[in-house]
């Protein structure tokens, strides 16, 4: 499985998983192995040994295996919780998808469960996601000067619905600065995807 993951090959990873399950490996072990493998992939990307497309391909393959094979078998009895739950999205009026996707993928490879709400996500949808998913962190991306205010509005909407204290909020995207993050009362800002992983670990008190 490790080999398939590092070959960024979804089909091979699925086959390897099926084979491993037949051979009697427990889904729990496989999940742990996969998580470990993903972390290696993330590290190698950070060191510049892997390309982005490879990181994303490995991540997508692992996601599929976890969602379609391992998760259903583990339901109820599973251990090895993810490091935390993240809900990520690009704010209303903004359709820039790539940076947000990469941040989500890096968080996933680092061991977090990531729910991606997509792009052009209105404040109410973030609020609803907090209510339903009870994530540890909301991550908001904005790439346009004109959509930056939606990050503030989303935080205000969380306050209004009384949920602000239940969740950490981080923001990012090229026009975002740490001053802006402070001004709107976010819990943190990171410049890129590697920084986002460090930031989330820091604000959730997860030691490396």
């Amino acid at each position: 499985m490790r080999e398939a993951l590092h070959a960024f090959d979804q089909e091979r990873l699925v086959e390897a998983t099926e084979r491993a399950l037949e051979q009697g490996y427990s889904p729990q072990d496989l999940l742990e192995g996969l998580t470990e493998g993903l972390r290696e992939v993330g590290d190698r990307f950070e060191k510049g040994e892997l390309f982005l497309a490879e990181l994303v391909a490995a991540g997508e393959a692992a996601k599929k295996v976890i969602a379609e094979y391992l998760k259903p078998m583990l339901e109820g009895g599973g251990e090895g919780e993810p490091l935390g739950h993240i809900v990520i999205g690009t704010v209303a009026g903004d359709i820039h998808d790539i940076g947000k996707g990469i941040v989500g993928m890096m968080l996933f490879t680092a061991g977090f469960e990531v729910k991606d709400l997509g792009v052009d996500v209105p404040a109410e949808m973030f609020v609803q996601a907090v209510r339903e998913e009870k994530p540890d962190v909301i991550a908001m991306s904005a790439l346009l000067t004109t959509t930056l205010p939606m990050q503030r509005e989303t935080i205000e909407a969380l306050e209004k619905s009384g949920l602000r204290n239940t969740v950490k909020v981080i923001v990012g995207g090229s026009p975002v600065t740490s001053e802006w993050a402070d001004e709107i009362g976010a819990d943190g800002y990171a410049e890129d995807a590697v920084g986002a992983v460090k930031l989330v670990k820091e604000i959730l008190g997860i030691r490396e």
């Binding site: 390309f51 497309a53 009026g93 940076g99 000067t145 004109t146």
Partner: protein
């Protein structure tokens, strides 16, 4: 403006390449189609024979429709300045240059500090662009970070309209386009006058791959109806929003801009549509969208050639860099991309001197340096004039073997009109260079920029127009924000 029909343009495709790219593009539009988020545009596409799936919002556009739209397009576009001397024409091999709009920060090259850009920076950028000879049209360069953010585009336009007489182009940020047109109409003297003197153009983008966003399509249609110039070009990145192969990314880019043209031409026949793309690469180590890579420059050449093949006025990009500071990388990437853009023959080249840091940081000094590079490039592309007089056989005979030409009348007669003189690049003898302060390019560019900004006063708007523009801006702000912003 650079125009030299004599010099061959830098073209990369054979006729066969163009044919294959064109047919592949038609296949994409007919087989895969495009997603159109705006219902009125979907219905329009259905009414002209596209196969439309309203629930998935997909329109598959038949070949004949795409080609009819190309035939209906404006072949030549008059882009007006506030004064007639500043009018430009987009056609043939005329290449016009202007800054971009988008940087959110400014690099002060003398102090090395990068800070969020303000409306005052935009005013300065526009004044500088107004003063520089090689700049033919003006975009605001920065986006003001110190005004109420949802109405930032109106302030960028405001700064531009007040501080230059050259044609103005602004970015469609998704705000209802009539807000922009209203402001330009004030300057032109009403909506009808604006049609005669189209002094505002808009730049908008589809969302790659193959999607036309709601507000951008609406604004495309609004501009088409207003008969104003509209740039509608995609900005996909190889390996993320476009295929990894260059030819594949070109086919997709072509399909995206041409399907925009279908919407424009069937909204209003003869719409002033400007064709092109700003296709580049997602860097595989950092994910950034590169504004300096060689792939991007090839795409610029490719799209200029395709657009010319279709007989459409074309848009391109140059004078930018991925570097964070104004260093050797920045001047090389900016200079090379400007040369490529100029030699591509595209009609409007934007982002000149506007982007460091792949689009996020602007620098006035870079614009000043690009002006110098452009004047050099224009000189090169002018080529060599070949006449009896310039062949100079008589003078060569007169001077003969072993003599010199310094004192010849022929020399004195031609030295000014035949040669390029640097305004910023240094050719001093070393000692004099040291005596005058050992100033490097950056330092000199900073000084020249300062000088221009303190000496140049753009022609102001008449007092009543100024007032009316103020009123229009305030009214629009109030409508958009729901309240009057604090000033």
């Amino acid at each position: 403006m650079i125009e030299n029909p004599k010099i061959g343009l830098f073209e990369i495709f054979t006729r066969d390449d163009i044919y294959r790219i064109h047919t592949a593009t038609l296949e994409v539009l007919e087989r895969t189609g495009v997603r159109v988020e705006e219902e009125s545009a979907l219905k329009l596409l259905a009414s002209i024979g596209s196969d439309v799936d309203l629930s998935r919002r997909i329109a598959k556009i038949p070949q004949n429709v795409v080609e009819e739209a190309i035939r209906n397009s404006a072949r030549t576009i008059h882009f007006a300045g506030r004064s007639r001397e500043d009018d430009i024409r987009l056609e043939g091999k005329r290449v016009n240059f202007g800054p971009g709009e988008g940087a959110t920060s400014i690099l002060d090259c003398q102090s090395g500090i990068i800070r969020p850009s303000t409306k005052d920076d935009t005013v300065k950028a526009v004044k500088l662009a107004d003063a520089l000879d090689t700049i033919d049209f003006v975009m605001p360069l920065f986006t003001a970070q110190d005004v109420p953010k949802p109405v930032m585009p109106l302030h960028d336009l405001d700064a531009a309209l007040r501080n230059t007489e050259k044609p103005v182009m602004v970015v469609d940020f998704g705000l209802e386009a009539n807000y922009l047109i209203d402001m330009a109409a004030v300057v032109a003297g009403g909506r009808e006058r604006l049609k005669e003197r189209p002094l505002l153009g808009m730049y908008s983008e589809p969302v790659s791959p193959l999607t036309h966003g709601k507000s951008h399509v609406r604004n495309l249609m609004t501009f088409a109806n207003a008969d104003l110039p509209i740039v509608y070009i995609p900005s996909p990145a190889c390996c993320s929003t476009a295929p990894a192969t260059l030819a594949g990314a070109i086919v997709q880019s072509n399909a995206e801009t041409l399907s925009g043209n279908v919407i424009a031409q069937f909204t209003r026949k003869g719409a002033k549509f400007i064709y092109g793309s700003d296709t580049s690469l997602m860097d595989q180590r950092t994910g950034v969208f590169s504004y300096g890579c060689p792939e991007w420059m090839i795409f610029n050449l490719a799209m200029a050639q395709l657009g010319r093949h279709y007989g459409l006025p074309t848009w391109s990009t140059g004078g930018c860099s991925d570097s964070k500071i104004l260093d050797g990388q920045a001047t090389f990437e900016a200079g090379l991309s400007l040369f490529i853009a100029a030699a591509s023959g595209a009609n409007l080249i934007h982002d000149v001197g506007s982007y460091l840091n792949f689009g996020l940081t602007g620098s006035l000094e870079l614009l000043t340096i690009c002006d110098e590079m452009l004047s050099m490039i224009a000189y090169i592309l002018r080529g060599v004039e070949v006449t009896d007089e310039t062949l100079a056989v008589d003078i060569i005979d007169k001077v003969g073997p072993g003599g010199h030409f310094i004192t010849q009348k022929h020399t004195l007669e031609f030295l000014k009109k035949e040669h390029w003189l640097p305004g910023l690049f240094d050719r001093q003898m070393r000692n004099n260079w040291v005596k005058s302060g050992s100033r490097d390019l950056l330092k000199r560019a900073g000084e020249k920029t300062e000088q221009i900004l303190s000496a140049h006063q753009p022609v102001p708007l008449p007092a009543d127009v100024n007032k009316e523009l103020d009123k229009t801006l305030r009214r629009s702000e109030k409508e958009i924000l729901g309240h009057q912003p604090k000033t």
